[in-house]
Structure formats: C-alpha cells, structure tokens
C-alpha cells in the first residue's frame, strides 16, 4: 500500500505541483488582489478593501453608473446569441456528416476543424477585411439599409457575434458528430413507427441521444465566448465591449488591477455557475448519466 502511494505520488506529483504552482497559486494571488485597494496609478495596495467590488457594481464617487452592468449584459447576450447560432448551424452539419459515406467523414470533419488550426487573431482579422466599409458584403448591407451610409458591417456588435460564431463552430460540430455517430438507429426506427410525425420522432428518439454531445458543445462554446477578449477588441470598435475587455483593460490600459481582479472573479463565478447548471441539466435529462466534458 505504501509502495502504491509512493507510485501515485511519483507519477502525479510533478504535473500536479506544476499546475498548483503555476496556475492555482497565480489565480489565488489574483483573487487576493481583488480585495486590495487600488493605488493612484492602479496597482494593488494595502489596506484590504471591498472598493473594487463596489466599483465593479457601478458605484464610483460619481454616483452609480450603468456602464459595467451594460458590459455584463452585453457579454451574456452575445454568449447566448452566438451559442444559439452555433447550435443551429452545427446540429444539421454534424448530422449530415454522420450520414455521409464512412470514407468521406474524416475529410469532412477535417474541413470543419482546419480553420481553427490557424490563430484566433488571424481568423478574426479575416472578418475585419471582409466586413470593412466598401466591401461587397458591406455594400449589400448598406443597400438593404441594414447599416448606416458609408459604414461597414464592422465595427459593430453584429460583427462580434459573427466572429464568435465563426470562431467556435468547430467546437460544437465535433461533440455533436460524436453523438450522432453513436446514434442507436434501431431506436430511431422504432420511434418512426411509433410516432406519426417526424418531428415527434426526432424529439423522442434522436434529440435525447444527442443531448450529451450538445451539452458538451455548449460548455466548449459558451465558456470561452463569455470570456472573449480578442474578437470584441478587434471587431467591436469600442461599442461592443465585453467582460473580457473590461478585465483586460484594467491591466493593459487604464490601470486598476483590483477592479480587473474583481471582474475576473465575476467571470469565474459565472463560468462555474454555467458548468454546474449544465451538469445538472445533463444529469436530469440524460437519465442520471453523467455528461463528461
């Protein structure tokens, strides 16, 4: 038994201590910064204070202002819309791939995944080019009256949504495809006999089986989308600030480390609530089966 414990320690200890030292401690330090006060130039100082949380909630010595609340709501809304759109696109796509001939499937999957092998910054930059004023897409939008004259589709909140959908689509297709591939066709056929409408057959036989994949996909998309920094920064043009930008700005621009740290805590809380909720939903709908992310 002692030998076994030593074995466990020897194999696991290097990695575990690496993560503890280079991630758990840093995060703990950042959390503690949130409870310090901000010096004149934004660096954390003693004494301890809850000022940064007050600031985060919108209270400054100018009274209450809604900017941070807007930012939070914007992040939630963008995450919701982008995740919804990603599901709407990925679901038929994943199904389609799973019904194609076996030898085509790896190629099709690869085709979906390859764009995400390029760097996020480059992918987003592509949309900056595509949506700028004067480009064909923008001209069409202008002619339809969707954007103001002489403006492009970028920068805008719409461009941010589009960027998020583009960026995260593969993360939804992969787990959904895995679910479709394992689909129990006997069950589906039985359902088709049982229910008259294909819609009901889908709801009772297909959808529940793909749910674990769907939930995994939602976790993979929604969590990073909520904390996104690059896309709103490049495509939002100062109108589409999200929580990630609010946090980053406190370290990279108008400095206020404690406020940024408080924002990070808010982001973590939201993330863990999301994870927890997904697990609960997954457990209930999946008949107690645990969803592995």
């Amino acid at each position: 038994m002692v030998r076994e414990s030593r074995h466990l320690l020897m194999t696991v200890a290097p990695g575990a201590s690496w993560i503890v030292f280079f991630l758990v401690l840093p995060s703990a330090y950042l959390m503690s910064v949130a409870f310090m006060s901000s010096g004149t130039y934004g660096l954390p100082e003693m004494p301890l204070s809850l000022e940064s949380f007050r600031r985060l909630a919108g209270f400054g010595f100018l009274g209450w202002s809604p900017g941070n609340l807007y930012t939070l709501l914007r992040s939630l809304w963008q995450t919701l819309v982008a995740t919804g759109l990603v599901v709407a696109i990925a679901y038929p796509i994943a199904y389609h791939i799973s019904t194609c001939r076996a030898r085509w499937r790896p190629i099709m999957l690869l085709a979906v995944v390859v764009p995400s092998w390029t760097n996020q910054v480059i992918r987003t930059f592509g949309w900056m080019n595509l949506l700028a004023p004067g480009t064909p897409l923008s001209s069409v939008a202008e002619a339809l009256g969707l954007v103001a004259p002489n403006m492009g589709l970028y920068p805008s909140n719409f461009a941010v949504t589009l960027g998020l959908v583009y960026n995260f689509l593969p993360f939804m297709v992969l787990p959904l495809y895995a679910a479709f591939e394992k689909l129990d066709t006997a069950q589906v056929e039985a359902a088709q006999d049982l229910y008259a409408s294909p819609l009901r057959a889908f709801r009772h036989a297909v959808f529940p089986q793909t749910l674990p994949g769907l939930l995994a996909g939602i976790v993979l998309v929604a969590i990073p989308a909520f904390g996104m920094y690059v896309i709103p920064e490049l495509l939002g043009g100062g109108k589409g600030m999200m929580l990630g930008n609010l946090v980053a700005n406190q370290f990279a621009g108008s400095a206020n480390w404690p406020l940024g740290a408080a924002g990070a805590i808010l982001m973590l809380i939201a993330t863990f609530i999301g994870l927890f909720a997904m697990r609960r939903i997954g457990k209930r709908l999946g008949g107690g089966e645990e969803v592995v992310i």
């Binding site: 466990l8 696991v12 389609h96 390029t118 592509g126």
Partner: protein, 265 residues
C-alpha cells in the same frame, strides 16, 4: 419533408457552412496579392507585400519564437502529462477527485483570467526574487500549464482502452519497471503520445491571449506580431504573413489526411 429533400437541404447547408468557414481565410490570402493598399477592391496581382516581409527581422524572430515556444512547451507537457495520465490510470480505483479538479482547471479557466493571473503572479515573483522575468521562459511555463491536462487525458484514455491482461503479461516478461516502461508502455501508448504532441503543438500555436500577457520584450510570437500590426493598422503586410501561416496549416492538414488514410485508426 421527404427524405430526398431533407438530404438536399442538408447538402446545401453543408456547402454554405464551408463557404462561411473558408471565405475570410480566402480573402486574406487573395488580398495578400493585391497591388493596392485596399480591403475593398482588388486592383491587380502583386508580390509587393511579400517583398516587404523579406528580410524583416522582427517577423523572422517572431516565427522562431513561435516554434521554440510550441516545441519546447509540447515536449515538456508531454513528459509531465504522460506521467499523470499513467498515474490516473494505475490508481483509477482510488478517490482522485482533487486530481480531476486540478486537471480540469486549466481547461475551464477563461483565457483572459489565466493570462492575467500568471502575469500578475510572475511580476510579483520577479519583484521578490528576481526569477520569472517575463519572456520566453514565462511563456513556456504558461503554455505547459494549459497543455498538461490534454496530454494527461489523452494518455489516460489510451491506457483505459487497453486490455488489463497486457500489463500482467508485461510484468512477467520484463523484470524491472524501467524495462517495462521502455519496451512495453512507450510502444503501446505511442499513438497517444503522437496525437497528444500534435494537440499540444496546435494549442500552443493557436494561443494568443495567454502569450500576450506573459510575453517580454524579445519573445513576441507571430500572433503577437500580427496583433501589433493590426493595432498599428498596416493591413496588406499582415495579409501576407497570415497567408504564409495559412499555407503552413494547409500543408499540415493535407499531411494529416494522408497519414490517417494510410493507417486507418
């Protein structure tokens, strides 16, 4: 809706999605050959933006940094990660909840929180001890941190997929644990190690936010360089650098396709 029309609709959606996925990349590549400095109109073929890249030392060193960072961090993560993966497998019957939490932490933590935590922590450590000055070293540390979990999980799932009887056989065959590791375990998990290495490598190349916050004056990677160029507003040259990166990705994609075709997994 009949079967056939459903099929047709799906095929339509599929091609539209492909267009959506590749259009921005194609535009980047196309405009890297644009004669004019414009994102709106293509006025003629020209290699002028590529000529500007030639001999641009900053880009070369950014490329070198990207490669060093990706390779070194992947190798280190591979070493550390496969030990955890094995440990998790060997002791899977024990209660290892704390380890699972620890391993999932780097995966679920938002990039921005990850990057800023490390930046703030490293700065503090540097102030106190003189170690961990922002630069390639800190970037490697940060990258290894988010690569370890993926390596561990891949290696773990490979072990789980093996027949436990194999381990017994190996125990009889090789006396010392070292020999067992070398002649039995390494060969059996080799496919897992290869895919873990490639995944780590991809994750490293794909990362921007964490690199950005842990970088120093001489450790800019290609994405950081491109970010700076976008912020500076020089568009056509970025098109050219980005196109070169896209070409590299395309080559890797084709290679991996050929590789997987030859040896169906």
């Amino acid at each position: 809706m009949s079967r056939r029309s459903l099929r047709r609709t799906l095929t339509g959606i599929w091609w539209l999605t492909l267009l959506f996925l590749y259009l921005p990349l194609a535009v980047v590549a196309l405009f890297s050959f644009n004669a004019a400095n414009s994102a709106a109109s293509f006025t003629g073929f020209s290699l002028r933006w590529y000529e500007r890249l030639m001999g641009n030392e900053e880009i070369l060193s950014a490329f070198a940094n990207s490669m060093i960072l990706a390779i070194v961090s992947s190798v280190v993560a591979l070493g550390i990660g496969c030990f955890i993966g094995y440990g998790m497998y060997r002791h899977r019957h024990r209660k290892l909840g704390w380890l699972i939490v620890l391993i999932y932490l780097p995966i679920v933590l938002p990039d921005i929180v990850f990057g800023i935590s490390e930046m703030a922590f490293f700065v503090q450590i540097h102030r106190l001890t003189g170690f961990l000055q922002p630069g390639l070293g800190t970037m490697i540390i940060a990258h290894v941190t988010f690569q370890i979990p993926f390596v561990a999980l891949i290696v773990y799932s490979r072990f789980v997929g093996l027949d436990p009887a194999l381990f017994e056989a190996a125990k009889d065959l090789y006396a010392s644990p070292a020999k067992r590791a070398l002649h039995f375990m390494l060969p059996t998990i080799k496919p897992a190690l290869i895919s873990a290495f490639f995944l780590s490598f991809t994750l490293s190349v794909d990362d921007f936010v964490i690199s950005f916050f842990t970088a120093g004056p001489e450790s800019a990677t290609l994405p950081i360089y491109i970010w700076g160029a976008i912020k500076k507003g020089v568009s056509p040259e970025i098109n050219a650098v980005a196109t070169l990166m896209l070409a590299a990705v395309a080559i890797v994609a084709i290679a991996s396709l050929l590789f997987s075709r030859r040896r169906p997994v």
